[in-house]
């Protein structure tokens, strides 16, 4: 009997050891950014997110800009009544750090405003989004350091591709981890740009120094679309949230796969557009996103979270559940 038990125990031990060394499938979190000024998810959006087992929503809490003076433009988000973990995102225009006269006072105001917004809520992390430059690096990093100290929670920040390739010059922000924004790759204002949102060829030019970049990175991928309106080949404005089918009407003449000429002046998506204007439709389709993810997976071995920009019913429907799953699977 004793022998039997010993044998059984040995078998269990060997079995468990084999299991332990078998390659494990990582659980990669699929989360989203929410970027509207007031927070509300539709029934479809909620169901879609639940199916994806989305745990976190990165929600814009403030826009901080500097026009003639410092401006805090808050969004309206109720942090309490949510089934998701909310990560507040603070968007700060780079020029804030260029123009600000009294940095310490700005830091204290920002801290106060954030504390006020997250009071009595279960916020565990806060994210900062600022496309810092060499001129603002010092101020921005100081700001991050101070905020981390006073908020006493995890901090993260968005990182652009060039900030990895040239990180020794652009610096590494003093935060717990970064979120690599894998979009906005071509110049949006250049008429010749094919698709400013995602261009894998351009991205490849920045595939350097990922091995030595000192911060742990999460990945942010785009699933949004937009129209870029040109007049005389000069950019006029961005039409957000546009769908390609909206351009397939008698008011537009397709010039190529993603360029459309306005045939008569009319109101479109709540703005007036003029005859002969050109709209460049931009999006990130499944194939491009899959390629991007495969490329990124070669560069980063331990991605634990993918954040899609941004949750909106039409974008979710556009990419589809299966495709999103497929994209995230690339990191396994």
């Amino acid at each position: 009997m004793n022998k039997m038990i010993k044998k059984a125990l040995l078998f269990i031990t060997v079995f468990l050891t084999i299991l332990y060394f078998l390659p494990q499938k990582k659980e990669i979190q699929t989360n989203f950014y929410f970027w509207e000024n007031s927070f509300k998810l539709t029934h479809f959006e909620n169901q879609f997110l639940q199916k994806l087992k989305t745990k976190k929503l990165y929600i814009k809490f403030f826009d901080i800009s500097y026009q003639k003076s410092l401006e805090f433009i808050p969004t309206t988000v109720n942090t309490k009544k949510n089934s998701y973990e909310i990560i507040p995102v603070i968007y700060i225009e780079n020029q804030v750090f260029l123009k600000i006269q009294n940095l310490d006072s700005f830091i204290s105001t920002t801290t106060k405003k954030i504390k006020q917004r997250i009071k009595n809520s279960d916020i565990k992390e806060i994210q900062f989004d600022c496309d810092w430059s060499l001129k603002t690096k010092k101020n921005y990093f100081y700001f991050l350091k101070k905020l981390k100290k006073s908020l006493k929670i995890k901090t993260s920040a968005t990182i652009r591709l060039h900030q990895i390739k040239y990180y020794q010059k652009t610096g590494v922000p003093p935060i717990d981890f970064g979120v690599l924004m894998y979009y906005n790759m071509e110049s949006i204002s250049d008429y010749e740009s094919k698709n400013s949102i995602l261009n894998n060829q351009i991205a490849k030019k920045y595939h350097y120094n990922f091995d030595s970049y000192p911060l742990k990175l999460k990945i942010a991928l785009p699933i949004y679309s937009q129209g870029v309106l040109f007049r005389y080949e000069e950019i006029v404005q961005i039409i957000e949230g546009i769908e390609k089918k909206e351009l397939l009407t008698s008011n537009f003449e397709p010039l190529s796969n993603n360029r459309f000429k306005v045939l008569k002046s009319h109101y479109f998506k709540a703005r007036y557009i003029y005859k002969d204007d050109i709209i460049r439709f931009e999006n990130s389709d499944f194939r491009d996103l899959k390629e991007a993810s495969e490329n990124l997976n070669k560069l980063l071995s331990d991605v634990e979270e993918v954040i899609f920009y941004r949750v909106e019913e039409k974008f979710l429907k556009g990419i589809g559940y299966e495709n999103l799953q497929n994209i995230v699977e690339c990191f396994n």
Binding site: N37, D63, S65, Q67, K68, I73, T75, W132, S133, L134, K135, H162, Q163, Y166, Q168, K169, T170, S189, D190, Y191, L229, R231, Y232, E233, E234, I235, V236, Q237, I238, I239, E240, S265, H266, Y267, A270, R271, Y272, Y274, K275, D277
Partner: protein, 727 residues
Amino acid sequence: MKIYKILLSVLISAIFSLEVLGCAYMSSPFDVSNDEFNFLDKRLVEGFDDESFLTISNSKHGKYWDREYKDSKELREENIDEWYNFLEQKFTKKDVEEWIYRKKNLDIGKKEAVKYMAMAKKYQKYVRSWGKKPKKAEVKKAIEILDSEYKKSNSKFIKLRYSFLILRLKHYYGFYKEVTTQTYTKDLNIKSVVSEWIDSLVAGAEKKLKNRVKASYLFAKIFQNSKTKTHIGFYDFSIKNDMEWNELMDMCQNSDEKTLMYAIRGLQGGANGIEELENIYKIDPDSKWFNVILFREIKKLQYQYFAFKNELTKFNLEYNVKYENKKLQTTLKANSLKIANLKKILEIVIKDDKKKNLFLTKLASNYLNIFQNNDTTKIQDFTSLKSNNEIEKNQIKLLLAMLDLLNLKTVDENIEIKIGDNYNSFLKNGFGSKNYLELVRGLLPKMYDKDNSAKSHLLQNNFELSLPTLKKDEYLKIKKLESKQNKNSFEKLIISKYQELGGLKKDKKLYIEGILNLKDENFKQAKELFTKIDDKKMLILQYNPFNATKSGTNRKNAKRKTNLIKFIDTFTTVKGIATKDPSAVMDNYLLANAYYNLSSFGNSPMITRFYRATSGNSYDEFDEELIQKAIKYYKNALENTKKSEFKAKITYMLAKCEYKNLIIKEKIELDYSNPDDMKEMSEFNKYVKTYGYGKYFDKIKKDYKDTKYYKEVIKECGTYNYYQKIK
């Protein structure tokens, strides 16, 4: 009355969150918000001289705040004026202002007014954006109280103000229908700024009720008629589709109103002004809005044209867009198409001859001819431009004077006199002098020979002394011109502008002359001049010019501040020794530090240049020699010292010099403002790979790796570490 401000701020934030941030208008390299190169007098646009909308900036924010500031200022002033008159001018306006806005006690004697003010202050908290909100029952009670006071009052002035308080509460607490059906303004029928506030509340309530077309119609009227709510009228005008636009057109009662709607659409950030101009013309050729839109379109184009004609701004413009050359080319191409399209329309309008006053159209057409032709000597035909109106006559004169300037090849006394007289004439007529002079400043300096370098220096530098480039003989010529007896009108103009900007007081003159002597290493004269300065603070130096640190700029605040006189004494002493004795290690080292620090890269370039570069990578023509001298004396010190720590330090300083020397030789313009470009990084790589940069970095590693100084370098110097990684 602070409630108004609060309400305003609530409205502003609402507008911003809904409207301004809703769409992004893109900026062009030519975006300007000021009045540079404007040759069009806003008085040409009759009945509309609002700078906020006639200026060009595509930035919605900029325009909004300009106008909002103007509105809030006028709102306050108008309100104070009305109270001042209501109180029979018994108090000063300042007292009235403080009584309204700063709770100052004023024994006004009118019980009704005192009670009203108390009510206004009491219910202020009901409409503020923070704090606890009252219950609906309390709000209803407040409305009842205010309504009862309204009824009791016999003064239309007070009644109107009570009605505003009532409507504001109703608006704030969602009784929109009651706001839109208000009859107070009609019943009371008095002219007051308060009616404008009520109109805004009504329009806002219509918007809340989702009657967007009606709301836009009302906001458009507010934009046109209100003195204090123009910005709200403009930015809350919101039509979203063709159906709404057609409904709006049906709502308009006459062609004036219709053209107003087109004008508001044409003034929006992303509008095609040229098409809206055509639309307005079709409805009413004489609409004032035709001129408003035309004026704005010409202003956009003229800035771009003249900025490139003017050598001074051309440089700035090209410099500003150097990383966006493609963007610049796109804008220039777009402009030529815009000019051609606009010209076609104006030709039709002139040919039609339907407008009562074609002056602005013809003037604009002439400007377009200029913008289209690079050879401005060919443009001579201004026969169509005639007028008896003084403003228009001044415009013709300005156009001709400007063309003369553009065609100018040389300058002599007669031309100077003509320019001076033109300037004075434009000044007298109230328009054009400033921008005419801007063009003069941009075009004339290159025509002056060396004898007239005083004039070109002042013109080029906006009538100030450009201390970084000022040469001694130039300064002496400026002094001579200043004291010349029979100055012509142009010389008088230049000198008066120079003196207007402060001229130079005794100490400053001595300081400048001292610095100019230092630049030529005339230490004795420099010291004599500095000694005569009364304000010794002028001579204090922030950094020690003999100091060297691991940072590129050597900037470390000196514990004990030195001054220019002490600097001269030390410099002459160490220079005297170092030049005679290369083995005098410390003197050679200090002299080398001083030369490095006098360069733009060091901590004290202002000793010979009056300024300190803001970035360690700006440099000028004097730097090469200074860096060469620094290298020479560092080498002497290195060869002769026996201390390895000191050798390591000097080697590191030589590495700094090697780097700066390469930057100068390769004429690299380093700019940190564009991280995407990463020019410096790629240039640094190029130095290392192509020019073999790093001689001294290698040396310090090879020969002094055991020194304490070397270990500090590894810890602190990013460039060194980067070099070791990429080489």
